[in-house]
Assembly symmetry: C2
Homo-oligomer: 314 residues x 2
């Protein structure tokens, strides 16, 4: 039972361009709006819980959190059913959040040198295989793997081109998340992978409205030697799946996050780092919100949020 649902944008700026098009049917000169972040939300009847915001990672969109590749309920619906108003975003310049094609057209029109072509990339399935820790390398599979690889074709369809390297730093998704948290009043920001650093960066801009951070398999945590003051103000969970030590890409990221969590704890902060096999949950890939036991993990996360965020505010 849904009380209210809908969508809106946060942020955005107008850009005047002379290279919107190379086609005669569409003017090349004009104004477009870019850097806005698409937000889709559902608020359950009798919402008793804090809003959660689900933030996807590299080369993916908000689809990450919806129906799993093998057709099971996504976390977007899970959190609504559990009483959380749930906000799913498309990062700036991804999915339903616009990109600026002007540089592509400027090169095509010979108004800009080839080197100015924007660095738009897609992750190939063979390389993504190891990045998502389905196995050590394509097409080997880690023993006990929980990702539904029989439905991998549906998963690969989720992947889209990534324009993040063409954006200013921090990614405009960061101030947009900050504005969303301020708008919501008290939001739990749940990030994944590439977006792992965004809620931390948003908290560094302004801690207002950020009731807690859940960083799932982050591409990076803030350096332990950075200004930790913003992170002392809210409960933080950093969550990793299985096989991390078998990945030369992920093992150092987990180490960096351990150092961060330890540094925050030493300063009195409430940061917890959990590696799922260390609490008895085994076989999880990088895409743990889509793994076969995704709802078991959601139950565990729901309970963690209840204990460490919801109850602490009462």
């Amino acid at each position: 039972m849904i009380d209210k649902q809908g969508s809106f944008f946060i942020g955005g700026r107008d850009v005047k361009s002379e290279a919107l098009s190379t086609l005669s049917a569409y003017d090349s000169v004009g104004t477009i709006t870019v850097d806005q972040m698409y937000v889709h939300y559902q608020i359950p009847v009798d919402a008793r819980r804090l809003p959660v915001t689900l933030i996807h990672g590299c080369c993916l969109t908000g689809k990450t959190w919806e129906t799993t590749p093998d057709g099971r309920m996504g976390w977007d619906e899970y959190f609504v059913r559990k009483g959380h108003p749930t906000y799913v975003i498309d990062q700036v310049a991804r999915g339903r959040s616009a990109v600026d094609p002007s540089l592509i057209n400027s090169v095509k029109l010979a108004k800009a040198p080839i080197g100015k072509t924007p660095a738009v990339f897609s992750a190939g399935q063979e390389a993504a295989w190891a990045i998502f820790r389905f196995g050590p390398e394509y097409p080997k599979v880690f023993p006990g793997m929980q990702f539904p690889l029989e439905a991998q074709a549906e998963f690969w369809k989720q992947m889209v081109a990534d324009w993040s390297m063409t954006l200013p730093q921090p990614n405009p998704t960061v101030p947009a998340l900050s504005q969303l948290a301020i708008k919501l009043g008290a939001a739990i920001l749940i990030s994944h992978s590439q977006s792992g650093i965004y809620p931390f960066q948003a908290a560094a801009l302004d801690t207002t409205g950020i009731a807690g951070i859940v960083s799932i398999e982050p591409g990076g945590c803030p350096p332990a030697t950075s200004d930790l003051a913003p992170y002392l103000k809210m409960p933080i969970l950093v969550l990793f799946g299985d096989y991390v030590d078998l990945s030369s890409r992920w093992a150092p990221r987990l180490r960096g996050c351990r150092e961060f969590a330890e540094a925050v704890r030493k300063r009195g902060g409430r940061t917890e780092l959990v590696v799922l096999p260390e609490i008895g949950i085994k076989g999880n890939s990088h895409m743990l919100m889509q793994d076969r036991n995704s709802l078991e993990i959601a139950d565990w996360l729901y309970a963690w949020i209840d204990k460490n965020i919801e109850q602490k505010r009462q």
Copy 2:
């Protein structure tokens, strides 16, 4: 009250590429999946009506049908509340449906000539003003305009870059719509603008599963001299808003659709063409699903569907 919701993809093909990336962090060689169509659906409890599929137009995404720029309920929710299982798609190569960046990267890597740069365009707000018939030219407004122009900034944020000119013909959205209709068994395809021709093209491929077509402000109808046999098999509504005769872009399209509708009727088909001011509903722009009276139009459309599609099947 929602019985079931979620998302999936239709279609898609694997592409092997040697130009997925120009960045050292991501392999340039690999496989990606493109030409799939993203579908988000909601099925109400006690769904008594046929499924409707909402298909957006140029330079827009499925967001078209969600919350209006001034914050009112979108048609996606309206049709669910009225008992219709509702499917909202992102056209192939738009929104959450992936694009192939290989040609951009091939040019950047000097592996392809500049002329091979894909024709990706954005519609500027000034040009879109007249295309969407907010007024005769930017920033003049037609008298009695129903579009909520005070919220136009939120509308411009809906617009995204359009890759449709880089796709094969017919647009892969067309066979995907056909497959979706076959999967649903009996679907009403509701198109808008650029996508206006897609349901007709889908019916020409295979009429199976297409219970009816509603073509809102189509960029074009099938030629009156074309093979009309597929269009004799289902109820068809072509719907236009106001100010059409004041637009040199839209007036010929309306004329072409009148010829199509007349030709189908002469062959015994059930095609109706309605121009809203001719039935007393005035002031509508091209974006009539977002105009101030959008829910009044939805009520009218719901009744049309009930009378001409639902009741005729009983």
